[in-house]
């Protein structure tokens, strides 16, 4: 039991240890290699980092419960783009335009509803057809992206509303709006996954689906709700981000699914489901953003970021395997 406990402690704390290592490395390396005068561990810099983590981070919270549940969602990037277009496009609709700034809450609401429905549609398909979530969401990733293009072809959709921009750029207690949304999403998902019956059942389904079925847990509705949640969070992420930027390209959100899954796996969620935590995912999101910023800080370009993150993902998987390795007497199959 002792080595098991050790490996578990290592695994649970690993992501935070990794973050600390990153901070130390970039601070020290930054002294020698950085062109800028500001230190890496600057408070402002860290706050900015939190804000920049928000778009991926908010979606990653949804991906955590979907993956813990034993599924995966590849369509989040496309959902993100659709929600962004709904948000910006809806404000130009005649009846909305007539409402002035009162259109804002409606635009938000429309975007969030659409995101939730798209997520729920994935869930419904997984539930009712029995097709693997990977395939269903691979398909809807294409399909939803097609829908994105239907709005405005290959042209960007833009609508700048200064009230909206002011809100998005506002800071409360020194923390940006986007960061607040990230923290709120993290808190809400933490509550859902650790404190509620739905959350605990999601773990049970991902851990041992047959046992959950035998115990009378309805697997289908749980999966659908979780897909609706990730759809909602993808839309929320879009709403927060595009309130500020005011313009969306039809290709926006591409590869988000990869970043999100990377963050979730780095944060210790099991690919096969049943284990993982929102707090770990939060760590994973921060770790990735730190890496991007840190590498930028010491003068490395995007290419290095991609390379390093890819290899770290594989390294994490490898370490996890080594820590869980069975005794020498195990069957070699």
């Amino acid at each position: 039991m002792q080595p098991g406990a050790l490996s578990k402690a290592l695994k649970n704390g690993a992501i935070w240890g990794f973050i600390v290592l990153e901070l130390i490395f970039f601070s020290v390396a930054g002294e020698f290699m950085s062109l800028s005068d500001t230190a890496f561990m600057d408070w402002e810099n860290m706050l900015l980092l939190l804000k920049q983590s928000a778009p991926i981070g908010i979606i990653a919270m949804g991906m955590t419960i979907v993956m813990v549940n034993g599924n995966i969602d590849l369509s989040v990037g496309a959902t993100f783009a659709i929600a962004a277009i709904i948000l910006l496009d809806s404000m130009t609709w005649p009846f909305m335009a007539a409402m002035g700034d009162w259109a804002i809450p409606f635009a938000w609401l429309f975007a969030l509803i659409v995101g939730t429905l798209l997520g729920a549609l994935n869930g419904l398909l997984v539930w009712k057809t029995g097709v693997d979530a990977f395939i269903v969401t691979l398909g809807s990733m294409l399909g939803y992206r097609g829908i994105v293009f239907m709005f405005n072809g290959e042209n960007p959709t833009s609508h700048l509303n200064w009230t909206l921009v002011d809100f998005a750029e506002a800071e409360f207690l020194g923390i940006a709006t986007a960061s607040w949304f990230l923290l709120a999403a993290t808190g809400a998902m933490w509550f859902l996954m650790t404190k509620t019956v739905h959350g605990r059942n999601a773990y049970a389904i991902g851990d041992n689906r047959e046992a959950a079925v035998n115990a009378g847990i309805r697997v289908g509705p749980h999966m659908m709700i979780n897909f609706a949640i990730i759809g909602f969070l993808a839309a929320l992420s879009a709403v927060v981000f595009y309130s500020e930027s005011g313009s969306v390209n039809p290709n926006d959100g591409q590869l988000y699914e990869l970043w999100v899954i990377t963050a979730v796996v780095l944060g210790g969620t099991k690919i096969t489901g049943g284990a993982g935590s929102v707090i770990g995912t939060f760590g994973g999101v921060i770790a990735i953003q730190l890496l991007r910023k840190g590498l930028g800080h010491i003068g490395a370009d995007t290419s290095t970021v991609n390379l390093v993150i890819g290899l770290i993902l594989i390294a994490v998987l490898f370490l996890d395997r080594q820590l869980n390795v069975k005794g020498k007497e195990a069957l070699k199959v």
Binding site: V197, N208, E210, N214, A215, A275, L331, K332, V333
Partner: protein, 504 residues
């Protein structure tokens, strides 16, 4: 007991699967406060019957009654709501969750906003755990418990609801004696509360210790119910297998050849220790013991699937190192594994491809597989083993258990091994195929094969073996010749009693 009404009654249940009549008019009833044993060989239909009862399968005919009322079980949830609780043999637990969450899986107590009421949950769970006298508490992670303790968690589930009927499916398979005592106490408590208990087990001594009545299934058919005090093991066995238990020893002896395999002081961690034996050509050596005694692990080591921590393996007098099945096969070792579907066959592949899989590299014409040669091999062993299939193109997954097993045996015979190891060769196979396979094993020995047979069925080892190695807890307790062996001495040896300590 006759004037009380049964708490649960099954009447003429029929269940067919494509090609199989799994249950054929099965009826039986459980009284309140009764422990009712359900017995039958593997494949007799016990688990199908329980799945019908639990609503996982819908019956094609017949009815289920609770009290006077006919009920339809639409699913596990409904069965549970009606007070029927299953204690599964395969652990049905979510390892990452706590003991409490597992025990109340699917019915966690709620507070407002769908929150889990952790306090109530822990209290209720700890109360149950106290009754079970286990050494862990409600908040322990299930994955951190031993298998036996996990089984206790499974059992604890029976105590959560106001159960009317509890079904125990092989509950003692992984329990120690002390834990068994606790389990039997729990059962007698339930019994005192008027709960009806269905107890599925192969272990006769348990059946006769705790049950009131015994119902027997054979090949999906109900064979009758007897009161436990009025019967004995022999009669129950006879009901199960349809004839008297054939405990005849192997009588045919033939000339033994050289030593094909010799094992000296072989150990593998905690799995088995200091194992020494030899197998000659023309000899069948039976390995008998309880599940977990280390027999399968020895076979896997000989097949290159486990690394021994000490000891030597000698083939034809020459010491060998077997690092993988590839090595073992190259040395002329074949293993018919224990788990036919998991280890023996690729169920989605056709019969021919499964049979020729280990030698597909050698059956080539140019760069391609020589399909003609493959079909020839398949035909040869289909005829020799009397495998009934529509043709070599049939998917192995669609065959019956007996024919599947013959495909696996054919696969390894076609390799012309010098040592054939068969692990539980007749598990889950009908009686007819069983005796065919026994005959086949004897025939192989007569042709000069060295054969190791691992079995948990005493009639089987007695029937086919020239010598019997009795194992207990990773050690060889004693080796018998077929002339000197008696049932009693064999049972004593595998229970860790009475072995004279003389290893091999």
């Amino acid at each position: 007991m006759t004037d009380t009404k049964p708490i649960l009654r099954l009447d003429g249940i029929v269940k067919t699967f494509p090609g199989v009549r799994a249950l054929d008019g099965v009826s039986f009833a459980v009284m309140p406060g009764e422990v009712h044993a359900l017995m039958g060989e593997n494949g007799a239909g016990k688990s199908t019957l329980m799945k019908v009862l639990g609503g996982i399968h819908q019956p094609d005919g017949g009815a289920i009654y609770m009290g006077d009322e006919q009920v339809v079980m639409s699913g596990p949830l409904e069965a549970k709501a009606k007070g029927i609780v299953f204690i599964h043999q395969e652990l049905s637990l979510a390892e990452e969750l706590t003991v409490a969450e597992n025990i109340y899986l699917g019915e966690l107590p709620r507070k407002s906003f769908g929150r889990v009421d952790w306090k109530t949950l822990a209290e209720k769970t700890n109360a149950i755990l106290k009754k079970l006298r286990v050494g862990f508490d409600a908040l322990t992670r299930v994955g951190d418990l031993s298998i036996a303790n996990q089984q206790m968690v499974e059992i604890a589930r029976a105590l959560t609801v106001d159960a009317k009927a509890v079904i125990f499916d092989e509950p003692t398979a992984s329990l120690t004696d002390a834990e068994k005592v606790v389990l039997f106490d729990v059962i007698s408590d339930l019994k005192a509360d008027g709960v009806g208990i269905i107890y599925i087990s192969h272990r006769m001594e348990e059946i006769f210790k705790i049950t009131d009545r015994i119902s027997v299934l054979r090949d999906g058919q109900y064979q009758g119910t007897v009161a436990t005090p009025e019967t004995d093991e022999e009669r129950v066995t006879q009901m199960m297998i349809g004839r008297k238990l054939d405990l005849t020893r192997n009588a045919s002896h033939h000339e033994l050849g050289d030593v094909a395999l010799e094992v000296r002081g072989l150990s593998c961690g905690k799995l088995y220790t200091d194992i020494s034996f030899e197998v000659r050509r023309g000899e069948v050596v039976g390995f008998y013991g309880l599940v977990g005694a280390g027999r399968t692990e020895i076979a896997e080591t000989l097949f290159g699937l486990r690394d021994p921590s000490a000891g030597q393996i000698l083939l034809d007098g020459e010491e060998v190192r077997l690092n993988s099945p590839v090595d073992a096969i190259a040395r002329g070792i074949s293993l018919v594994p224990e788990d036919r579907k998991g280890q023996g066959l690729v169920l989605g592949m056709n019969c021919r491809d499964n049979m020729t899989l280990p030698q597909v590299d050698d059956l080539t014409a140019g760069p391609f597989v020589a399909e003609g040669a493959e079909v020839a091999i398949f035909d040869q062993y289909r005829d020799q083993l009397d495998i009934r299939t529509p043709g070599w193109r049939a998917r192995v997954g669609n065959l019956s258990g007996g024919n599947q097993q013959k495909i696996v045996i054919g696969k390894w015979l076609s390799m012309h091994p010098s040592l054939l190891i068969v692990d539980e060769p007749t598990r889950g196979i009908d009686v007819g195929s069983k005796s065919e396979i026994h005959k086949l094993l004897r025939g192989l020995a007569a042709k000069g094969y060295a054969v190791m047979v691992i079995s948990s069925e005493m009639p089987e080892v007695l029937h086919v073996s020239d010598r019997i190695v009795a194992m207990y807890s990773g050690r060889i307790m004693r080796t018998f010749t077929s002339d000197e062996v008696t049932e009693d001495s064999l049972i004593q040896a595998i229970s860790g009693l009475g072995g004279d300590g003389k290893a091999a």
